[in-house]
Amino acid sequence: MARNKEALLLLIDVSPSMHNLLTEVERVCSMLIEKKLIYSKSDEVGVILFGTDETNNDLTKEVGGYEHIVVLQQIKVVDEDTIETLQKLPRGTSPGDFLDAIVVGMDMLIKKFGPTNKGKKRLCLLTSAQYRIKEPYEGTKEDQIDMISAQMNANGMKLECIIVRGKLTGDANRRIMDENDLLLNRFSKKSCAKTIYVESPTSLLGAIRTRNISPVTIFRGDLELSPRMKIKVWVYKKTSEERFPRLKKYSDKAPPTDRFATHEVKVDYEYRRVDDPSKVVPPEQRIKGYRYGPQVIPISSAEWDAVKFKPERSVKLLGFTDSSNILRHYYMRDVNIFIAEPGNTRAILAVSALARAMQDMNKVAILRCVWRHGQGNVVVGVLTPNVSHRDNIPDSFYFNVLPFAEDIREFQFPSFKYLPSSCQPNAQQQKAADSLVKMLDLGSPGKEVLQPDLTPNPILERFYCFLELKSKQPDATVPLLDNTLKLITEPDPELLSQNKSFIDEFSKQFELMENIKIKKSSRRLWREKPSGSNEGEGAGDVSDAQAVESTKNESAVKVDKIGDLTPVQDFEAMMSRRDSTEWVNKAIKDMKNIIFDLVENSYEGDTYQKAVECLIAFRKGCILEQEPKQFNDFLRHLCKFCRKKDLSSFCEFLTSKQITLITKTEAVDSDATEEEARSFLVKIDHIRRSKVVGRLEATTSLPRASVLLLPIFSNSCAMDSRPHQDTSGSFFSSSSDKLQLYSYWQSSCSWRVRFALNLKRLPYEYKAVNLSKGEQFSPEFERLNPLHFVPVLVDGDLVVSDSFAILLYLEEKYPQNALLPVDAKCRAVNLQAASIVTSSMQPLHMLSVLKYIEEKVGPEERQSWAEYHIGKGFAALEKLLKDFAGRYATGDEICMADVFLAPQISVAVMRFKFDMSKFPTLCRIYEANKVLPAFQASLPERQPDASID
């Protein structure tokens, strides 16, 4: 038998006291075999049952006695049958005698192996040890155990006793159990045995070592306290994660007839040049590069070896410090254990003295370790004492790696005490939390559950179970997590029901509310459910309305939240709930949020109708409940909000629906008089128009009625860069120092300037020049622009004509909300796009040119001429912007290119009915521009001189 193969004999108690646990025993034993089949296929296993009805073993035939013990399986190399055997354990009826079972097991091992295979023979006893064992023929039970122990030691056998107690069955006898415990513990003193007490089925699954890993030292040598004082130690890993098995990739290319196919997948790596992917670079031509900022620094392995950090192998003490200086969460990795060199009494004493002194004084040691020679890694870590409570185990240390300064991110978080009072628990809430923390107890002494040492890994358990299942049935589905394993992933229902009152009190004390302003999509994680949960389909199917499942789930029938689908109905249902006054408040609160969301998230006012419906319902509800203040305050706030957020269109909409404040006549408590309510509507209107009116009164040429206009500037903040000029607080000062724009509503060139002025939030005076009436030829205008073209911008003394020039001027003079990006490349693209529009498109289809074509060539040529040039221009633009466009033409911010493009596209579509479908990028950009308030306000039909006939 090979050196690393073990022989294991399972001694399983199947007597009545074990019956309720045998399912778990079957599970854990088959798992053990499953893992052996994977990791140690040549291990040998035998199974002995005791407490059975029948008797079947060698000893009973040879010497008599040893009743109710059955050798279920002789020791043999693990195979599939063993699993099947173990999964169908018979339930016995006799009280089991574990000592007899051990003797039978030892006999089998000795007969099979003799004195060979020292240390590779394991007896694993699974019992509840609840029945008295037989008195020996001679001597005491203790003597007998000593004898057995001596035999075991002589033959190099190990014994593992797993004593399953947990819920005791009725016929349990404390005295017998105590006696048995004493006997079993005697084994651990006298032989290489250990005893584990298991309280729950879950721990039973974790108690048996299902995989044998031979420990390997990672360091053997001196622990240097100083250059003159060293202790010989061996360092092992104490924890090391057992990972999910690595599965190989499967190839199905091999023909099914090929019985020797491996089905494996090989990976082939090729190094190709980034700039020339067709070129494969051979290994000798490759060099490693390390990144430093944006640079990659090439360095050969040899060079690197010459300069890299090369510490010497050593473990050195830096000093001791209070254990409070090392917080638990600093531990970085899996844990090592330092044990004094075996057999070296002096080293064992030194470790023992230090460990005990450290424990007494609450100190820890700080070490610097380089485990291997030539290894570049230094670790600094903390040594904590592990004082042994068993006489035959020496003291040792645990070692945890600590972080270096580079590994720590010093983020600052607000102090809890400075958080607003809404986040601070009150005394009662604190009390509820205290009792919850106290009562949901998993760690009472002697009864600790979910102890990591005894907790199996539920994922691995599940995987091996699935693997076994699949080996029999290739299309098996993933097995459910049974109740035993569920105790690891979910709270114990028993613990919860015992402490129901505390949990209820806790839930009562705290209120949780879902913030409905957050988009639904981000709430998805509440709907995740575990696979194989048998909670039933109904509970798993979380509908939208129930998305609050995790916050408060009072009842499914009664409406407890206003959903997005039927807010009005929900609101009314909630307002009419009478089981708590809280519902009215909650309904009002939720409704406010819904309305806000609707208004704020509307796209071109698509949700306004719904918002108004909600608002009407809300108003009605507030009158009914006599809560006028709630509504009035909200409405005022909403209007203010809309103005601030460029959503005045909603105010306009409100006015048209005649929704106003709740008056005193409607609700006595109202703070609004009839008049105030009436004027409120006017005020909304007024605010929207005042700027325009104030400005346009000076320009007499236009009728006031056509003043349906323009920049929906945020409250009074149209910032300009000449703030020293408007210290008066009034934003509209005399017209002379304001920008004047000579424009014609249908002119696309004027349009782009209007668009830009709005984007830059520059107020201006609109000077209409009616091109259809030939006003551009008036002497006054000719003085401004001898070319007779609009637009013309007048800024104080300066007159600029030509839209391109105007835009460049604006950009320089008023750099806020810049339209030209800083990045030179992006800037160039913008200028290029602008120029394509102004020089290669617009001039070719301007009114005068078209008229000329019509006259000289023919009326039918007018359209095709325009279409040809527009198409050519757009093709160039599409190509130019394809790689640059983000949300807007050259990225995610609006730029010069947009200003030229959007009006141009609009004109092409509206005036020339041009088909844009060939230019997806342009269409996308146009759509993004279209919704901008600044663009909306610059639309031709929204201009004072627009005449739609």
Partner: protein, 651 residues
């Protein structure tokens, strides 16, 4: 950038695990350091340990260069710009007065930090006065508003990138709490208003402005004077906002450094406390190992980066594979196939993210319950209002009752049982040291814990080695164990413990903090890279801070304590005995082996055997007698051994 191909053999599961250690690049950050360079900043801020005076300006510059160094190591994809205001010279795109954007060759103004940038910036003070100059810009009668200009320039620098995918920040360093204090009347109102509006416009574009105000020794920085409005602080926020100040200059530096980095949450999770109560938490990776950057392979001739292409090939047929969604595991002589979905399904064992299972006393959390760095949890009310309150209540109860929570963390890639430890806030003169919140410790399962103390087997690796060494012998029944059967392990006596206690007191590191050691190998790694990047000839010398303090160890009192402890556990003549034991045991064993070999060797007539070609009839063990006796290597196959003997015999 590709990882070393040797390192990417891991399958999908492994890659997901890496997620734990690597932050997502999606949260790229663009930062403009906006530094006040007014004459006030050049006044001394305090004294260094060596009594030299240092100006505010110097403090700020050194903190920024330090943070740039961290940035280049940890987050080299972030982009930064450095911009001074209140300067004599101007340099910026907008050509505004009093603002100077600092930059170096081969770099855009807003770009990733380079070695050159860090180097030149850290030496900027030398030429600052000459080349850039410091000057008050906001003075009566002058229309210039340098703060306004500065924010404008910063905003201009941050134009690139969409606000959705990157974080844009302006970090403003100043010790002037009242920038418009020198002007008055309408001019002041005007400047204040325009500047606030400028800041608001920037904030509307998704740029966050953060202030790092420096206290002057004579007066405290009064945020309420102006900056509260600029930052939009009010009420509760205002009280939370504290200017950077410290008794010592080092504290001030500490605080600056801490505040310069933005908190990045790893993810948002829900913590279900009970069936009806789930609260919202954010997780943060406060401690993660920093590793030297990944390797990029280059073409050694052109230094052009190489792209690694891997292709998957069927081992049986050599066919090129495209998608391969199936995995397999050999079991019972069969290949058991799994789909990737099935494997994910196996791992999905829990609802939600974090589920409370119960509480245990802190003493139940053993030192060996650890597998990887912890994760920090902090509550948030963003989606579930009321979360913070519940979190604080539980946090307080857990602290008061000395308990930790056991929970199950059901992440999709690596579900695990965890311990949640409440951490109270710890602050010192340099500000917060440990934030309040909970730390999530990943707990091992039973199969992850090894019972080393109880191990009694011989250690396999060493057995093989010893077998090779003492080929001729049945190895001594080498049952070296840590646990002695039927015997008592030696325990230290009270006297020995007392001596150890005395030693512990002498060797006490009073103010030990995990922040104190830089990783020497990492420091070396980047110092070398920096030197190479800047084409410097000399390799930098990095001090290894982790070495023990030998000078301190040599102090007589410590030497005495050590000596007493040594005598008490090792006895008087330890050093001689020790040498003897360690030397003799090994050498004796070796000597025995050689003696035996010589004896055995004499039984054969080697020359004769060699001549007649009979050597091959001997066993390996017999051959090794000869080799050992003649002090020759005994490794290799039989052929090799025979050849070695023949060579030695001169045949």
């Amino acid at each position: 950038m590709d990882l070393d191909p040797e390192g990417v053999f891991g399958d999908d599961e492994e890659e997901l695990e890496d997620d734990f250690f690597q932050e997502r690049v999606a949260t790229k950050e663009l930062v403009v350091y906006l530094i006040d360079a007014s004459p006030k900043m050049f006044s001394p801020a305090g004294k260094l340990e060596n009594q030299e005076e240092e100006s505010y300006f110097h403090t700020v510059v050194s903190c920024i260069s330090q943070s740039l160094k961290t940035l280049i190591i940890n987050r080299s994809y972030d982009e930064v710009a450095i911009c001074f205001f209140n300067t004599r010279e101007k340099k910026n795109m907008q050509d505004l007065n009093g603002v100077f954007v600092f930059n170096v060759a081969e770099r855009e103004c807003l770009d990733k930090p380079t070695a050159r940038l860090i180097k030149e910036f850290s030496h900027i003070e030398e030429q600052f006065m000459g080349e850039i100059g410091s000057q008050y810009q906001i003075i009566p009668g002058n229309r210039e508003n340098s703060l306004y200009n500065a924010i404008w320039v910063a905003q201009g620098l941050l134009r690139k990138g969409s606000a959705k995918t990157v974080d844009k920040r302006i970090l403003l360093f100043t010790n002037e709490d009242d920038p418009f204090g020198s002007v008055s009347g309408a001019a002041k109102i005007d400047m204040t208003r325009t500047t606030l509006q400028r800041a608001k416009d920037a904030q509307d574009l998704g740029i966050s402005i953060e202030l790092l105000p420096l206290n002057r020794s004579d007066e405290e920085f009064n945020v309420a004077l102006f900056y509260a409005d600029l930052l939009g602080l009010d009420g509760d926020n205002l009280t939370q906002f504290m200017p950077v100040a410290g008794e010592k200059l080092d504290d001030m530096k500490d605080q600056l450094r801490k505040r310069m980095f933005k908190k990045r949450k790893v993810r948002r999770i829900t913590f279900s406390v009970a069936d009806s109560i789930s609260i919202e938490l954010n997780t943060f990776a406060l401690i993660r190992p920093t590793l030297p950057g990944a390797i990029t392979w280059l073409d050694s001739i052109t230094n052009v980066p190489l792209e690694i292409q891997n292709s998957f090939i069927c081992a049986d047929t050599g066919a090129l594979l495209q998608g391969h969604t199936k995995r397999f595991h050999p079991y019972k002589n069969k290949n058991i196939k799994f789909s990737v979905e099935e494997l994910l399904e196996v791992k999905r064992v829990s609802t939600g993210h974090l589920r409370l299972l119960g509480f245990k006393p802190l003493s139940c959390l053993k030192d060996y319950y650890n597998l990887k760095p912890s994760t920090f949890l902090f509550p948030s009310d963003k989606e579930i209002i009321g979360s913070t309150r519940i979190f604080i209540a539980l946090h307080r109860s857990m602290l008061r009752l000395q308990r930790f929570a056991v929970a199950f963390y059901g992440s999709s890639s690596h579900p695990q049982m965890v311990a949640l430890i409440a951490q109270d806030e710890i602050s010192n003169s340099s500000g917060q040291v440990e934030p309040p919140g909970m730390h999530m410790i990943y707990l091992p399962y039973s199969d992850d814990i090894r019972k080393i103390e109880e191990v009694r087997e011989i250690i396999l690796g060493s057995v093989n080695f010893l077998l090779m060494l003492s080929f001729a012998y049945e190895i001594h029944n080498y049952t070296q164990v840590h646990m002695n059967v039927d015997s008592v392990a030696p325990r230290a006596t009270d006297d020995q413990i007392q001596k150890a206690t005395a030693l512990l007191k002498r060797l006490d590191l009073k103010d030990f903090s995990v922040y104190q050691f830089a990783n020497p190998s990492l420091q070396r790694h980047y110092a070398v890279l920096e030197a190479l990047a800047l084409d410097e000839d000399e390799m930098p010398d990095i001090k290894d801070e982790t070495l023990p303090d030998e000078e301190g160890m040599a102090r007589p009192k410590i030497v005495n304590a050590l000596e007493e402890f040594k005598v008490s556990v090792y006895g008087e003549n330890y050093d001689e005995d020790y040498m003897e034991i360690s030397v003799s045991e090994a050498s004796k064993k070796r000597k025995d082996i050689v003696e035996n070999a010589v004896k055995e060797c004499a039984n054969y007539n080697w020359a004769d055997l060699a001549d007649n070609g009979k050597l091959k009839d001997l066993t390996v063990v017999e051959l090794k007698y000869y080799l050992t006796a003649h002090n020759l290597p005994v490794t290799g196959k039989k052929e090799a051994l025979i050849n070695r003997i023949l060579t030695h015999l001169g045949k």
